[in-house]
Structures are given as C-alpha cells and as structure tokens.
Symmetry: C5
C-alpha cells in the first residue's frame, strides 16, 4: 500500500497484478482525475458521478467495473449536515476510492492492510471493497447513538420545560433525520443489489459478508425511522404540553377573576352615593356584607373544587 | 438432555448421532463460545451475530447450517424495554441455542423433552427448532394482553382525568409499541422465509408447523399495530379533552365576567362624587338601579342560555 | 341434512358418498371434537386453529383438505365487539363447519338445502363451501350500513353540539372500525388465494362464484376504509369545532370586558375623594362624562365591527 | 341502430351478424332483463352484478364474454353524490350496455354511429366498447374541473373568512373526493387489465386506444388525489386561521385589560373613605395621579410594542 | 440543423438519411401539425397526446416509433405554476419534438449540434433523444435549489414572525410541491421503462446514459419529497408557534389581572359608605391596608415565579 502521488506510481501499482487500492482524496485537480479515468478506462458517466457530489448511494455496472457509491456520515450528524460521498470502483484486480475531503474514516482498513502486507488471505478485490463499505456502514452506529442520547435529553425537556427553543431543536433534529433517511434508503437498496448477486464481480464468499453489511444497513435504517417517529411524537407532546399550560394559566385567571369580580361589584354597590340607601345606616350591614362576600367566595371555591380545578390533581 | 458445562461433554453429546440440543446461556466466556464455534464449524459472521446482541430477527443460511435469530420479550414489556435475543443454529443433527442471560422461557420445552426421553417421535432437529421458535412467539400473547389492559385503563383516564402525567404514560407506551414492532416485523419476514421453503434443512411436515407459528406472529403483529393506532387515537383524544376543558374554563370566566363587569360599571357611575348628579337625590333611584342591574344580569344569562353555554348540555 | 348429535350418525352420514355437511356448534365437549378430528383425519394444527378462537381469517391446505376460516360479524357490530369465527374444512365429499356459539346465520343455507333435497345440482362440496362463505361475507353489508347511519348521526352532532360525549362515541366507533378492518383484510387475501386457483379442491365453475364473493369482500373492505377516514375527518372537525367555540366565547368576553373596563376606570376616577378636583364642581361635568363614555363604547363597537367580531358573520 | 323495445326486435338485431349495440335503460322490468340474459347466454352472476348497483368498477371474463363495469359521474359531483353504473357486456359481435336511469351521456356515441351507418370502419365490437368506456372516462374531466374551481373559492374563504360553515363545506367536499377515489381506483385497475391483454376479446389495435383511456383514468385519479391533499391542507389552514384569530382576540383583551385594571385600582385607592389619607388633602395630588396613570399606561403600551403585539405586524 | 418553416423543407430534411431533428414550436396551426403527422405516419392518438397538453409524462411505443412525453419546469416554479410539456417522437432516423410555446431550454443542444455539424459521433437518433430528455431533467436542479432557498427564508420567519401571511406562503409552496411531484413521479417511471430496455429503439450504449438521467430524476423526486415534508413540518411549527404566543399573551393578562383584581376589591371595600365601618376611623388603617395590598401582590408574584411564568425562561 503506497500513498500514490503521481500518475507514474499509479500506473506501476496497477501493473502489479495483485489487488491494488488507489485512494483519491480531493477533486481539486480535475486533470489528474481525468488521467486516472483514462488509465483505468472509466466510463465518462462514471467519472461524472464520482466528481459531482453528492450522488444518491447506488451500485452500477459498467462493463467489468462496478461503481459503488456510499454515504459517509460524521459522528456528530445530529449537529452538522455534512455527509460525504465515498465512490468505489471495483475492477478485476483493483479498487479505486474517491473522496472529496481528506478523511480518516478508512484509516483502520489501511492499518489492517499494512499489518497483513496485502489483501486478506485468499480474497480478491471484492473483499477489499466489502471491507471499505462495511467500515462506512458501521460508522452509522455511533452517530445514531448520539442522536438517541440527544433525543432522550429533549424528551425530558419537552415534558419539564416546553419552551419554543426546545421545539426549534426538535425541528432541527427532524430535518437531520429526514436527510439521513434520504441517504440510508438507497444505500440499503444498493447493498441489496450486491447481495442478490446481480454483479459477477462479487464472489459468493464475499456476498455472505456483504449480506451482513446489508443487515447492518437495514438495522440503522430502522433505528433512524424509529427516531423520526419519536421526534414526531415529541412534537405532538410539545403541542399538548403548551395546550396544557394555557389551560393552567386560564384556570388561575378564572379562579381569581370569578371570585373577586362579583365581590368588587358588591363593594361598588355600597360605594354609591344615593341619598336613599337604607342599608348604609344599619348597624350590622357592614359585617353582614362581609359574611355575604365570604359566602360567595366560598361557594365559588366549592364549585371549582367540584370541577376539579383546585385541590389534588388540579 | 444434559446441562452441558464443559466442552468435552459437548463434543460427546454431538457425537451421539441423534438430535442434540446445546443451550449456551451467557456470553461472558468468549473463549468457550469460540471453541463451540470451531467445534461446529460456525462461520465467523454467524458467531458475531450471535454474540453482538441485539440483531434484527432473521433467518440466514450458512452452508448446511441455518441461523435463526428471534426476539424474546418479557411479559411486562409495557413497563420495561428489555427484549432478549435467542439465536438458534439448526445443523444436520443438532440445534444450538444462545442467550445472553439465564432465562426460563425455554423451560417447558426442556421438560417436554425430558419426559419424552428425546426429540418428538420421528421428527428431527428441525422440529426442535420449530418448538423453540414457537415457544418464543407464543410468549408474545400474554405480553400483548397486558398492554391491552393498560390501554383500557388509560382510555378511562384520558376521558375522566386528562392530566399531563397520563399523556406521559401514553407517550411511554407508544415508544414501547414502536420498539416492539421493530422486532415483530422482521421476525414475521424471517418466519415467512422458513415457511416458503427456501431452506432445505426444514422438512415439509415441520413447515406445516412453522406455518402455524408464522400465523401467530402475523396475528401478534396485527394486534401490536392496532394498539399503536389506539394509542395515537388516545393521544388525539387527550388533546381534544384539554381543548374542551380550556373551553369550559373560558365559559365560566366569560359568564361571570360579562355579567359583573357591566354591573360594576353602573355601581361605579353612582359612586362618583359630582356635585350635580340629579339621580342621586331621587327617592326611587336606588331600587330602580337594582332592577336595572337584575335586568342586565338576566339578559346576559338568557343570551348565554341561547348560546348553549349554560343549562342542559352546557 | 340431519342434525347430527352422536358420532355414529356422523360416521354414517360420512359414508353416504354424496356431499355431506356436518355443522359443529359449541366447543364445550372437547372429546367429541377430537373424535371428529380422528374420524376425518384432521391435522392436529387444523383442529387447534378451529378450537382456539379467534384466529385470523385464512385458507390453508392440509393434504386433500382445505381449512377456511372466516369471521362472522353481528349486524350490530357498531355497538358490540363480538365477531365470531366460522371454520370450514372442505374435504373430498364433505364440508365440516365449526362455530363456538349456536347461531342462525347459516339458517338460509340449511333451508335452501332442505328444500332442494341435497347440494345444488351438479355441484360438489366446494359449492357448498362457497355458499357458506358467501353467506358470511354478505352479512357484512347490513352491519356496514348500520355503521353508515350512525356516522351520519354523529356528523350532525359534531357540527351542532360538539360535546365530549360525541367525541367518546366517535372514538368508540373508530376502534370498532379498526377491529373490523383487522378481520376483513386477511379475509380478502384468503378469498383471493381461493380465486387464484392455488387449491385443487376448488373447481373452476365454483371459482367464478368465489370471484364474486371476493369482489363483495373487497367492496366491504373499501367501505370500511372509507368509514374510517370519515371518522378521522369527523374527529378533526370536532377539534376545529371546539376551537371555534373557544374563539366565540373569547370574543364575547373581550367585547364586554374591553368596553366596560375603561368605562369603569373613568367612573372610578370621579369617585375619588381628592379635595381638589375641579371637574367635580362643574355643572356639565356629569353629562359630559356620560357623553365621553358613550363615545368610548361606540368607538370600541366600531372597532369590533371592523374586525368582523360583531355584526353579520360574527 | 334501433331503439329496441321488444325482445323480438332484439333477437333479430342479434341475428344480423354485424356488430350490434343493445342499450338497456332502467331495471324495473326484471323479466325482460332475464330474457335478455337467456337470449345472450349471460352467466347468472354477471346478470346480478349488472342489476345490483353499485358494483365496484371491474373487468371480468365469462367464457367468450367480457363484463366491464365503469362508473359514470355527473358533472356536478361536487354537490351531488349520485354516480351511476354503466355495465358493458362485450360479446363476439355485440355490446350490451345496462344503465339504471335514462341518461344522455352516451348520446354522442349514438350520434356518431348513426351518421356513419354502423361501427367505425374495420373495427369490431371491442372498438365500440372502447368508445363507450372512453366517453365515460372523459366525462370525469369537466367534473374534476368544477371541483377545482370550488376548491379555489374555498381557499380564498378559508384565509379571509374562516367560519364554521366553510369548514362544513370543506368537510363535504372531502367526503365527495373520498367517494370519487373509491370509484376511480378500481376503474384504473380494470382498464389496466384490459390494456395488459388478459382478454382475447380485445384486439391489439383497440388495446392501443384503451391504453389512451387508461392514461386518462390515471390522470383523473391523480388530479382527484391532489385535490384531496389540497382539501386536507385547507382544513389545517382553517385550524391555524382559527387559532390565529383567537390569538388576535386575546391580544386585544389583554392590552385593554392590563392597561385599565391597574389604573382602576389606583382610582379605587383614592376613592376610599379612610379618615386619615394625607394625599387626599394635597393640592397637587389629583394632577400627580393623572400623570402617574398616564405613565403606567404608556409603560404598558411600550411593553406591548416591544412584544410586537401592537404596531406594524401586530 | 435547419429552422424548418414549410413542409417541403421538412420532407427534404427527412429524406436526408442521417439523424434529423424537427422541432415544432406552437400548436396554433393545426393543419401543419396534421401534415407532419401524415408525413411521418404518426398514430392519431399519438398526435392527440402531443397537442392536448398537459399529458402525464410517459413513454409509449407506436410501432417503430416511441413517444416520450416529459415535463419542463421553469426555474421559478416556486412562484409560477406553468410547467410545459415536451413531446418527443423517436423514429428510426429522426426525432420530432413538440412544444406549445417558444422556449430556450433546448438552445444548448442546438448549439452543440451546430458546432459539431450533426449528431454526436457514432450515435443515432436515440442519443439525440437522450440529450434532449437529459437537458429537461437537469433543469429541475436550479428550480429545486430556488425552492430550497425559499424554504430556508420561511423557516426563519415561522420561528421569528409567525404571521398568517407566512402561513399563506407555506400553503402556496406546498401546493407547488404537490403539483411538482405529480409531474416527477410518472417521469421517473417513464425513464425507468426506457432504462429497463422495453423499447428496442434505444440501443444499449444510450441506455447507460439514460440510466444516469433516470438517476437524476430519482434524486430530484427525493429532494422534492423532502421539501414537502419540510413544508409540512414548518406548518406544524407554525401552529405550535401560534399556540405559544397565545400562551404568552394569556400569561401577561393573568399576571396583571390576578394581581390587581383582588387589590381593587380591597380598595372597593373601603370605598363603601356604610355608617358603621370601624376601620375607617383608625389612624393606621390606610398604611396597614397598603401593607396588606403590597403583601398580596408579592404573594401572587411569588406564586407566578414558582410556576415559572415570570423570571428566567418565562
């Protein structure tokens, strides 16, 4: 395994006869990519799909070459929306990989290959392609786990403090999940096509491995789907929560207002300045009125208690 | 049937020639599991699926071995979220089962085998595999029944006392059902693959039995689906209930406020201290005002009655 | 056609050679059912599906026997939730039917057979099976019709009197429809399997008849689906209705309060006891204030009119 | 083309050898229909589907006859819910059509045939059947167009005047569309079956024409689906609109009440009759209080302005 | 490549033997179109689909001709709803295109052909058809991008200023997306049919190119679908936003009203004119009452603080 920098080395590597992996990072130098294209006889459409990112994850056959496009997601996908595309060209004795940015996702494979001095024993280029795709798919698990943790935090907040800011974060997370799903589903289909055996470049022993990768992809897609449903559920809970709080606010207002507005009216009546108001001159009128007002307030409170607006559970 | 503890016994049991069931509980001792793997020639991917729980329920063929992964759910799934995985490897003359924790779900099978001294008459390892899977699927019924009971309780509460706490429980139950479905659906597919006859290890008489198990699985999936719809329905009912209560609260406030605010205004008018207010000196002003106020209140009440806010059905 | 009471008669009936219909009602006597099972060579799983009700409607082949399970619904399904299972076993020259309770649904068939003295001319046991299934499916129409009537009643009530009780009834009806659908869909599939010709026991002329029954089943399923959508629609309408009423209540409160609260304030100002309030001594202050208050009230009303809260359409 | 009134004429027409179209309108005279049935050897089930309206649109083969059932909708379907069934029986040299009511939908075909003196050149009974079905399907366009116009009217009203009456009309329109879809979808399937070539009675040149009719049917179904989504969208908009108006009403109430309630309290304080209230005797107390009250009101207004409740956009 | 204006030139162009592209813009002159139809032997149904716009995007085979109908959308589809239809007839050595209006979308192809003097090297009419369809599909990207920008603007506005006008724009955008989808989906199917190889007129090398176009079409359909979900999400956010604001308004009202209404009542009590009110004569009554009132207000504020209605996060 060499860090191929100039086209000469590349060509020599290709001539080696054993399984060769050429990893192209960065598409700045279009000429170089075209040169690789003509060296390996890549179809112009294949080259365009590789360079014009993002494409949908897919598997396509061009003669004896298979183009596999998968989507790599960063572990902090919940915050950022920058998945990257990994394009693989699986040829008879080589695997070409193309990435737009320099990334470290494939480093473990590199290390494995370096330590073993070459491809895994007895397996050809298709196994290498499997190993690369598998690494990409497995990287979805920690990313999904982080979304799951975030979801749990949001659940607590929705129930305890349903502020608009929480809704904004739910909304953001939902968009992230919709975007994620848009990548996972075609990836699932693409892997399924590889497993079904439509591509002769994939040998039977490797197909068993790819079946496993497909299974992982299905699992991540189901988890993502479940998270999306949970976000929707939380949004509805948020709405219910707000409705509940409005109801609470209303109850307080209603209780206070319906008790004191009638009492104020009574006080207002005996604040009038009519010359002829017999009650005003009575010795017991004032205490009687207080008694009446206490009675009205008590009656109201009893009514609210019976309605369940105050007291336990209110 | 022996409680196999050391690998020697295991090997001997395997050499017996008749149908052998080896039940591995707990994955703490990875070396032992690897030893079992090499004894029975298990594919490394198969072994990984067995050990890395949870996997999706599935059926996969590895040469003459069939890996069947099913999900066991505890009877109190409505409260706890800890399904466990049962992995079966169906070989020519043996069944290997793997569970992470020591469980008693398979005890009835054990007892049946013990009493009959061996596998059911004339049936091979595939019948044993069926019996195990059937036991797992049948354990869904009591769990679903308990969810059903819980749902009935919640229905009553939503209508009678729609507190936020009830919503929280509905929310929790929905998440449990979403999670449950995530296990049932692939199990249904897996059983269907077994029934369809894609696996030669399953003989025709056993396939008729598996068809029955598949049917039960479909039935549980439909019940779970129905429960999920009912939970969604209850959540909407909850929202309607809260909206209704807000409406009720508003009506009380409006009735009291719209009656007494105008009356207070009238009382306020005659509490003014202008020097020249002819009404103040009239003998009949005070009773007249009372009459007017009673009239206004009565008119308001009549208006509310006509609107249907008070009286029968209000 | 005989009311078979003891097994001897049964066996003799079976020996007759012509098409025989044996109708078993009630599963209390398990021994007798087992006896029937062994007489006709029924598979143990078949017998279990027959006895353990309810099963999903389905069609299954057991050797030269076909098990057909359909769901009978009572005409008042909208109120009660007690569908019953009819299990048919179609054998070479006989039809066995099993019901848990004594019912009169199949009475018309009985009568038809009695009057014609035997099975319909030239048709075998499969025609009898068709006639029985067709009777069960046709009984869905009056039940659906009753649901339709109930739905129309609820529609009127939702618009005119959206009380929580109406919501409860909608909720109940929806659950009934969800349950109904759970029975109709597999029945539809089962009938389709019969029509497709997967079962050699069904002859071609009878398949044309079954196609008709399948068509009826599809029609009922579509009506049930439509009703379910209509119930969902009514629930949303209910919510809108409640929101509307809250809006109405709010408008009345707002109109009354915003008119009289400022007026009360003005009255309150001139009810103050300051020594130095020049207005109090003016001759025209009191009428001027009244004019001002009428002006304020009028301005408010004009504002509400412009907003469309009062007047036509308010 | 003759208006066939008695069975004799009918039989003679049938004997003609050329393509014959017999149009039966009204099912009052059951005997006559049975006579037609026996004349043309119609299967009893076919005859029942023809007479028991409404059936689902479908295509069924009975020996060398094809039964085609399509649904005719009136142009004012948005208001009325009375689709009618057209049943066609396509035989070797004849087409029988059955309608329950006398209608004018097929008049153009009649006219075309009359003017050309017979069926279109070189085409047989299947072309006539196509022409009839095509006429029925084409009649959906003006009906859908009218629904579209109605939808546009409702859209304006929902935004400008969201009264409950508008909701009722939306609700009604949605039910109409649900009902319409229930007819279009099976019709689409039925036409597809005709195009696929499952029926030998349809010759290849006519199948090209039917492909066109199928295409129109698909288009109408998509338009109907789109309208249904638009109605659902309008219903949600309605709910938002009502919520918005409630918010508006609340804002007015809150602004007025929160300004004047504190002011009334201040006025109330200085309306008290305590002997010892030093402020009452101060010369500048009254104007000072006014200043204070104006300040409080101004502060409140500033607060509301900052909240965005008053001023531009409020 | 010539601007064909009269039929003579057209016929001569057709006689050339090489790949000929005839572009018809505007359907005003029906006679000319009929003349083209008879010149190229177009089926009457084909001609009708070309002229009666809009049709659903589709691919249909008429003998050795293939009719391809695609939908061109303007880049400002978010504002306007005027997609246009491009009909292609792919014959053995020619491509006919029909558009209703004069457009510049196909100008790049024209330029490419002009510069290369003829069709692309070695490729026939099917490549030209591909190039035309590809140009149409690629024009969806900038249109979708513009919708995406609009969506981002709306997202900010929904959160910051949820006015009914914003809802109206969301509603409008959703209808545009529903309409867009109605065009994309059948287009996707049509392209898939071309790629699958149902049409012998499409050679294998061109099918690889069409696979790419199909892929782009799938991608645009997924983006459109995602946008639609985002619009739905924003509509729900809008509703939540309005509910939140109502809650805010309510809280302000409740706080002010529940503090001052009881205080006003107290002031009202001591504004009464009873002869015997001992408190009125006490020296410390007035300051005591003030202390009491401050205490009540403080208690209320503490209660609101504890409820979380005022203070941080309120």
């Amino acid at each position: 395994e060499h860090e191929v920098r100039d086209l000469e080395t590349l060509r020599r590597a290709f001539d080696g006869g054993t399984t060769t992996w050429i990893d192209v990072q960065g598409f700045g130098d279009r000429d170089r990519i075209d040169a690789i294209g003509s060296t390996f006889g890549l179809h112009p459409l294949l080259l365009e799909d590789v360079v014009n990112v993002p494409q949908r994850p897919k598997v396509e056959s061009y003669g004896d070459q298979v183009l596999i496009i998968v989507r790599m997601i960063p572990v902090d996908i919940a915050e950022r929306a920058e998945p990257e595309q990994l394009s693989l060209v699986l040829g008879p004795h080589y695997v070409l990989t193309f990435q737009e940015r320099h990334g470290h996702l494939l480093a473990p494979i590199r290390r494995r290959i370096r330590s073993r001095k070459g491809a895994p024993s007895g397996m050809g280029a298709d196994y290498l392609a499997y190993a690369l795709v598998d690494t990409v798919v497995d990287a979805y698990y920690p990313a999904l786990e982080r979304i799951g943790e975030r979801l749990e935090d949001l659940e607590t907040e929705v129930i305890e403090r349903p502020t608009p800011e929480v809704l904004g974060r739910l909304h953001h997370l939902k968009n992230r999940l919709v975007d994620l799903r848009r990548g996972i589903w075609p990836q699932r289909e693409a892997l399924n096509a590889l497993v079904r055996g439509d591509f002769p470049a994939i040998t039977d022993p490797v197909r068993i491995y790819l079946r496993d990768t497909h299974d992982h992809c299905v699992q991540t897609s189901e988890v993502a789907e479940m998270y999306r449903e949970m976000v929707s559920g939380l949004m509805n809970t948020y709405l219910s929560s707000v409705a509940n709080r409005t109801n609470d606010v209303m109850k307080v207002l209603t209780i206070v207002a319906t008790i004191f507005i009638p009492l104020s009216f009574l006080a207002g009546v005996y604040g009038m300045n009519f010359e002829h108001m017999p009650e005003l001159h009575s010795r017991w009128a004032y205490p009687t009125l207080w008694a009446l007002m206490v009675g009205v307030a008590g009656g109201m409170l009893a009514f609210f208690w019976r309605k369940g607006w105050i007291g336990p559970g209110g």
